[in-house]
């Protein structure tokens, strides 16, 4: 379980690194590589992309003018709300009209695209010395686990991470350090108030701070029937030692384990937190819990890195800016940390007529300067060197985010994975609204998942 995350990948990456290194050394023309020269054949073309309307994409929209002026390639960016962006791409790819030259998509969609031949592997461009910037070395410059999780499928590389999103624990640092709270907490629970390192502590802290009569809550769950619920629960599932499928990589199919005793325990524990969460929790997604945190109404929650800035740093929008603390979610029982990550990735559709120009732009965007700019504007880079930058280190949540990235756990990216998500969201929501108990809900989900996936995914925990 532990070993599968990073080590295996490192070996594969090293191999391709060697190939690329050879290429880089091949001749003088590679040494003399310049963006202007590489882009010369594509001058005057227009490349179009589509993604979710969020700060990183807005940052890209501001950055692109430099690329445009250097290359003569025009970049058009379409920004949509999350599910709109996914739907637009699905329709475009399936009608094979090639409107988009590169796309920005959540990595859970990857399997669908690859399996239906909608994507162009980027290896071809990476191996083309006229396109490949010798200084661009993803094998060294990116978090390898993240890169493989987000942009690889069945050993093929299809792109690079656009944002490396992850979830970690948010808490009110000001209250944590309040002497009265600390004294009271210690008196009641017999240990010092600190960021939770176990789920028992997490519950104790939530209980301690839960004061609904004052409009203040111990935590806030994202309980609406929405992807947010699934993402949030995954943190608990992984930490309790469970998983959805028993596989070694996201592109594999394997036995269904979503109804394991660990999974059931994690779900029951998750629901127990409803007692310390506002009454409206079953109506929340990331949107509402963030608003609550901004208003200073919640002590702690598990939340996304790309939302952190607006709560922790943005004094305009947040009443708790500068008062927040962050840490990785409580680890598994064996002490091994675990991280729930989700990425949006750059991909190049097979139907695009301007793949080379698109690659050049993506490659340019992956440069440290651009990555830093994007990251500081609300992005979530996959480059450790950007994280190491002093400006980034100064941000209060950088350490938690880096820790989580390092503990990234792969999740299914097979073609059926969005459907699996949909099934689980429905069943989790049914459990939260008392329509089923935890075992029933997860058993039902497991059966449906197994039927959906077929022979490769038998039930590991049979349903009687």
């Amino acid at each position: 379980m532990i070993g599968r995350s990073l080590v295996g990948r490192f070996v594969r990456s090293s191999a391709s690194l060697a190939v690329c290194g050879l290429l880089a050394l091949q001749g003088t023309e590679a040494m003399a590589w310049s963006l202007e020269e590489a882009a010369a054949p594509y001058e005057g073309t227009t490349i179009r992309t589509v993604g979710e309307a969020l700060p990183p994409l807005e940052a890209m929209a501001k950055l692109k003018s430099e690329f445009e002026s250097r290359t003569g390639i025009t970049v058009e960016i379409e920004m949509y709300e999350h599910s709109e962006a996914v739907n637009k791409v699905m329709l475009d790819l399936n009608s094979r009209r090639g409107r988009y030259d590169f796309i920005l998509q959540p990595h859970r969609e990857l399997g669908r695209f690859v399996a239906n031949g909608h994507l162009e592997p980027v290896e071809r461009f990476m191996n083309d010395p006229s396109l490949r910037d010798p200084s661009f070395m993803p094998e060294e410059q990116l978090y390898q686990g993240l890169w493989h999780e987000i942009s690889w499928y069945e050993g093929q590389v299809y792109g690079f991470p656009f944002t490396a999103l992850n979830m970690y624990m948010w808490y009110r640092d000001d209250l944590l350090n309040d002497p009265n709270e600390r004294a009271g907490f210690k008196e009641k629970y017999g240990y010092e108030l600190k960021p939770a390192t176990t789920w028992q502590e997490y519950t104790d802290i939530a209980e301690w701070f839960h004061r609904p009569d004052e409009g203040f809550y111990g935590t806030a769950l994202q309980g609406k029937r929405h992807e947010a619920l699934w993402y949030e629960w995954l943190n608990f599932l992984y930490s309790f030692g469970g998983d959805m499928l028993e596989t070694n990589s996201g592109s594999e199919c394997g036995p269904v384990v979503v109804n394991s005793p660990e999974a059931i325990a994690s779900l029951e524990y998750y629901k127990s937190l409803l007692a310390y969460s506002p009454a409206d929790s079953l109506n929340y997604t990331w949107d509402e819990v963030m608003a609550l945190m901004q208003q200073g109404k919640v002590y702690q929650m598990i939340m996304w890195n790309d939302a952190t800035y607006a709560v922790a740093e943005d004094h305009e929008a947040s009443t708790v800016a500068g008062k927040m603390g962050f840490d990785i979610v409580p680890p598994q029982a064996n002490g091994e940390p675990v991280g729930q990550v989700e990425g949006w990735t750059y991909l190049i559709p097979a139907g695009s007529k301007n793949q080379e120009a698109a690659y050049l732009f993506i490659q340019w965007m992956m440069e440290e300067t651009q990555q830093l700019n994007q990251h500081l504007n609300g992005g979530a880079t996959a480059r450790p060197d950007v994280y190491a930058h002093p400006d980034v280190q100064a941000i209060s949540y950088s350490q938690a985010s880096m820790d989580t990235n390092a503990a990234a756990r792969p999740k299914p990216t097979i073609p059926e994975s969005p459907q699996i998500t949909d099934i689980l969201v429905r069943e989790l929501s049914s459990y939260l609204s008392d329509a089923k108990n935890a075992k029933e809900a997860l058993d039902d989900a497991a059966v449906e998942m197994s039927e959906l996936l077929g022979d490769c995914a038998p039930l590991k925990y049979p349903v009687e």
């Binding site: 699905m90 029937r225 409206d280 109506n283 608003a291 109404k297 459990y431």
Partner: protein
């Protein structure tokens, strides 16, 4: 010029039904074409997400799955039926009452009507968001006053409670569409002839009897029409529910449109989605046909098309 003359000749000689041709062609190409494609898709395994599902013919497999192996569809089906009958009934009763009330004041205060129509002018998607804000448990104005007047306790979450959420969605629909029903019924009331009412008064009928024996029967065709239009649109209700609950909690608001949306736009199982959609279409069509024939409002209208007598 030449073709103009030909068209004129055609029109002059009573083949004017040809004027129907453009609209029929439009409907056939833009709507019927895709509709037939959708029906065809229902017999295939077309799936945009899974590999090797390129639309091979599978016969009635999708239909079988729908009929025998999809409890959620049937849950959605009955939920939608309840929703349609519920909202149409309530909107009709409210709308009729409001129309009767407005009837006496409309002449002087036409602007009242325009104001009343505001909910109907809002985009359904905006309505969904607006009510999400109003019903929010933390900063929702509506919830606040419910609690303030003791109608709900601190723990009540309207959209998070499986037994409250559906009535809430129905109320929102009633809020949005009662004005439309009012408007149409009011229009009907204003165009009624005066004589039958005067005759009924002379016959000694009391107001309630007049309403029952004269107003309602005379309004029958327009009531039928408004029920028909609202019924059809209520069946397609999507935007509001999608924004408000996304079908949850659990599957307590998973209406047919939401379910079909998931099949089509989340799972991209177009073959099965087509069958679901076709089923919905069939049910609406049958219900409307039966209703249409039962009320038979075309009987009255064909009179206007009678021949000019000599």
């Amino acid at each position: 010029m030449r073709t103009n003359r030909i068209i004129e000749r055609v029109l002059d000689h009573g083949v004017a039904p040809l004027l129907l041709v453009p609209s029929v062609i439009l409907l056939f190409v833009i709507l019927l074409g895709p509709f037939l494609y959708m029906v065809w898709t229902g017999f295939t395994d077309l799936h945009y997400a899974l590999p090797n599902r390129d639309g091979a013919f599978v016969g009635f497999a999708n239909f079988r799955r729908l009929m025998q192996d999809d409890p959620i569809f049937w849950h959605s089906f009955w939920l939608t039926m309840k929703f349609v009958f519920g909202v149409v009934l309530v909107e009709f009763m409210f709308g009729l009452g409001l129309a009767l009330l407005l009837f006496h004041y409309i002449k002087q205060h036409r602007f009242i009507l325009t104001l009343l129509l505001v909910p109907m002018m809002l985009a359904p998607i905006a309505v969904g968001l607006i009510w999400k804000l109003l019903l929010s448990g933390d900063f929702g104005m509506f919830t606040y006053y419910l609690r303030y007047f003791g109608l709900a306790d601190q723990q009540t979450s309207i959209l998070g409670n499986p037994s409250l959420v559906m009535p809430a969605i129905m109320l929102i629909d009633v809020w949005q569409w009662t004005p439309f029903v009012t408007l149409v019924i009011l229009a009907g009331l204003l165009s009624l002839p005066k004589e039958p009412f005067e005759a009924a008064i002379m016959d000694g009928a009391r107001p309630l009897q007049i309403f029952r024996d004269v107003t309602l029967p005379l309004l029958r065709p327009i009531i039928a029409l408004v029920l028909l239009l609202r019924g059809i649109d209520a069946f397609k209700e999507f935007d509001k529910v999608f924004i408000l609950t996304g079908g949850g909690p659990g599957i307590s608001t998973e209406m047919l449109s939401i379910y079909t949306y998931r099949i089509n736009f989340r799972d991209w199982d177009l073959g099965y989605g087509a069958v679901c959609a076709f089923m919905v279409y069939l049910v609406v069509l049958i219900m409307c046909s039966v209703f249409y024939k039962a009320v038979y409002w075309n009987e009255g209208r064909s009179k206007t098309v009678g021949k000019a007598a000599s």
